[in-house]
């Protein structure tokens, strides 16, 4: 009997050699005359263990990792086919504490199924949500989503049901569904993992949205930085068409839904919904003033649902298991699960899907295991480049939209970037302004000009030129950008800047640095020695 062996095709797994491991396993098996079926699954999201290889045994799936190409022959010698013990053996995958302590709803299938097998998708509960939706009136679908408490996972946290309800009630000859997969925040990779590991859940979520609001065309807007995700998504769409889950007669319902995936071109601002619509229409990704809301005048001037990919990927399970099932997870006004992405200087970086409400400290220490370098943690940036830098004293903040807002922070898309005590927050504040200057679409003055002035002011603060006056000026500038910018880029960049000033004032009060020294080989060598992860 053929033994199933799983080697992920997720980009992060590929980035540490999964392709070579897959090839080595195939050739080792064939030279030993063993019959294997190699499945290229998505990632389980435990990236420090990648490439994570799994073998299907009578006792379930047994995990080994991190597996290098060189270790493959030894695994075969050690009886890896029977799931026997080995230095790299992690035991049954489902029993690994990191996974076992999670509540995987949106990521229920990611890393488990073959992402390009629609049969596998259906066998693991796929398309049950759509089947349920097809028995309901559009308004009942919208009500279910509203009752589940699902809020936009892109960062703004707007109730999804309200958005859908608006589109449903606008009279128009064409409605659209747009999936925002322009995941540009540093520290985030949940969208990428789903596109590479469970693409059909995005297609199903969008199809349900389309049926709810009578849309017949959908677009997924992804990133050129994600070439593997783009190709997987394209192939999954083609497969869904072949099997009658997209096109003129979705799942035999007589309803039409067409879907296409498009690529951005390296502009962070296109993650903002109106910029994304401009870009999809073939224009510069400059934001549109609101109103009109995209729900009323969106893509090509038509009513459009614009939802983050994780939002849409959460829809099928809500339709399948019911609004209450989903709503019972979470705290306060943040219902369901959050896909936390542990990143940066972290020992056990990866995806943690948990009900809202676990503390930042729990995420970083219970799951993440602290810093990768082993040095003390000094700062954490949650929510991407527009999120605040929190010091250690704020680590007990629960991961919840309102709790973060109350501490002048932002949950955003759930990215958690950890920094050790070598970080210089004045530099990070400067980078925030620099990033805003590079990525500003140029539409409004506070963001376009303010970001460049911000870099200059912070440079003067670092150089110890009239420090007190310049700190006041920075505060003033940030207030103006917050109040006067048209969108979240200029409007939120003051969060990382002012949180750095507020929580780490000592970094803005150092002697002016000497001119940068020329880096030489000896310095790099000693850098490697003091930073063993290199």
């Amino acid at each position: 009997m053929s033994v199933k062996v799983y080697v992920p095709r997720d980009s992060a797994a590929l980035s540490v050699g999964a392709e070579g491991v897959a090839r080595a396993i195939a050739s080792e098996a064939s030279s030993r005359g063993l019959d294997i079926t190699l499945v290229r699954n998505g990632s389980r999201g435990m990236f420090w263990l990648e490439p994570l290889v799994e073998v299907e045994t009578a006792h379930g799936r047994i995990a080994y990792g991190p597996v290098s190409r060189e270790a493959v022959a030894g695994l075969f010698d050690g009886g890896f086919f029977e799931g026997k013990a080995h230095a790299l053996c992690l035991g049954p995958t489902e029993e690994i504490a990191y996974l076992k302590q999670q509540e995987r709803l949106t990521f229920a299938r990611c890393g488990i199924v073959n992402p390009l097998s629609i049969d596998d998708y259906i066998a693991h509960g796929g398309y049950r949500g759509l089947a349920q939706a097809l028995t309901l009136e559009p308004l009942a679908i919208v009500d279910t989503i509203q009752a589940s408490g699902l809020r936009g996972r892109g960062g703004a946290g707007f109730p999804t049901g309200i958005k859908w309800n608006t589109v449903l009630h606008v009279k128009a000859d064409q409605n659209y569904i747009c999936c925002n997969a322009d995941e540009g925040d540093s520290g985030t990779y949940a969208d990428r993992m789903i596109m590479e590991g469970d693409p059909f859940v995005v297609i199903e979520g969008m199809t349900i949205a389309a049926i709810a609001v009578a849309a017949t065309q959908g677009y997924i807007y992804s990133r050129s930085e994600y070439p593997h995700a783009f190709r997987t998504m394209q192939r999954a769409i083609a497969i869904a068409y072949e099997h009658g889950y997209l096109g003129a007669n979705v799942a035999g319902s007589g309803k039409r839904f067409d879907l296409d995936v498009r690529l951005g071109a390296g502009a962070y601002i296109c993650g903002e919904e109106t910029s994304m619509l401009e870009s999809l229409e073939g224009r510069r990704g400059q934001i549109r003033p609101k109103p009109p809301l995209p729900a009323i005048e969106g893509l090509f001037g038509k009513p459009t649902v614009v939802n983050n990919l994780i939002t849409l990927a959460s829809v099928p399970i809500i339709m399948d298991k019911g609004a209450e099932y989903y709503r019972d997870f979470g705290m306060g006004k943040s219902r369901g699960t959050l896909t936390i992405q542990l990143a940066g200087n972290i020992k056990h970086g990866g995806l943690v899907e948990k009900a809202f409400g676990i503390t930042l400290r729990d995420a970083i220490y219970s799951f993440g295991g602290g810093t990768a370098t082993g040095r003390p943690l000094r700062a954490v940036q949650v929510g991407g480049p527009l999120g605040a830098y929190f010091p250690e004293s704020l680590l007990d903040t629960p991961l919840d939209y309102e709790a973060f807002a109350a501490r002048k922070g932002m949950l955003g898309h759930g990215g958690v970037v950890v920094f050790d005590d070598t970080v210089d927050l004045a530099k990070q504040a400067r980078f925030a302004m620099e990033f805003c200057a590079i990525e500003s679409c140029g539409k409004c003055t506070p963001c376009r000009i303010g970001s460049t002035r911000g870099v200059e002011v912070i440079d003067r603060i670092i150089a110890n030129e009239n420090r007190t006056e310049n700190l006041e000026l920075l505060d003033d500038l940030c207030e103006l950008m917050t109040d006067g910018s048209l969108c979240a880029l200029g409007g939120l960049i003051p969060l990382p800047v002012m949180s750095a000033v507020r929580h780490f004032p000592e970094d803005f009060d150092k002697p002016a640095p000497a001119p940068p020294a020329v880096i030489d080989a000896a310095a790099l060598k000693s850098n490697r020695e003091t930073h063993p992860w290199r």
Partner: protein
């Protein structure tokens, strides 16, 4: 990357024709041309403008807005180094300095032998394995200076 074609107006016209019917066709066309030639030749602007019934200025405005689109041909290989916060926390700035020093070129430039272009990128979505780079569309994680050297050397040895 290494199989880029030299600019060819007929070939470009054919690619434009394949895609011009799409709603919002401009970005798909620009991606197709850059995939083919590695950059957007100035001559493409008026061809696209004619095909989509846009002004020359509108097309130029789009090409120049997006960081991805190049105005001249890159080297045979392309190394993109992430400089976003997650990679910063794991020392990407010293990685950038190392690569620039070794190659004698800055980010956004091509080595004199045309073998390699290096660019900055803000986030490759590989933030649990920082610092991250992408070489010719393939991702690499936990990239130390010596791993970067290895990648650069093997790419430059290929044609």
């Amino acid at each position: 990357m290494s199989n880029l074609l030299a600019w060819d107006a007929d070939r470009a016209q054919a690619r434009i024709r394949e895609l011009e019917h799409l709603p919002g066709a401009l970005l798909p066309i620009l991606h197709a041309l850059q995939e083919e030639f590695g950059y957007i030749d100035a001559a493409a602007t008026s061809m696209i403008a004619n095909a989509l019934n846009l002004s020359h200025a509108e097309v130029h405005g789009v090409v120049s807005f997006y960081h991805d689109f190049r105005h001249s041909a890159p080297g045979r290989h392309l190394l993109r180094i992430c400089r976003a916060e997650s990679c910063q926390s794991m020392g990407c700035e010293s990685l950038v300095q190392h690569v620039e020093k070794r190659l004698g070129v800055k980010l956004g430039e091509t080595t004199p032998d045309q073998s390699l272009t290096i660019e900055q990128v803000f986030c490759l979505g590989n933030c649990a394995l920082s610092p991250a780079v992408m070489l010719d569309g393939e991702p690499y994680g936990k990239v130390s200076p010596s791993v970067a050297d290895f990648l650069i050397d093997s790419a430059r040895r290929q044609q």
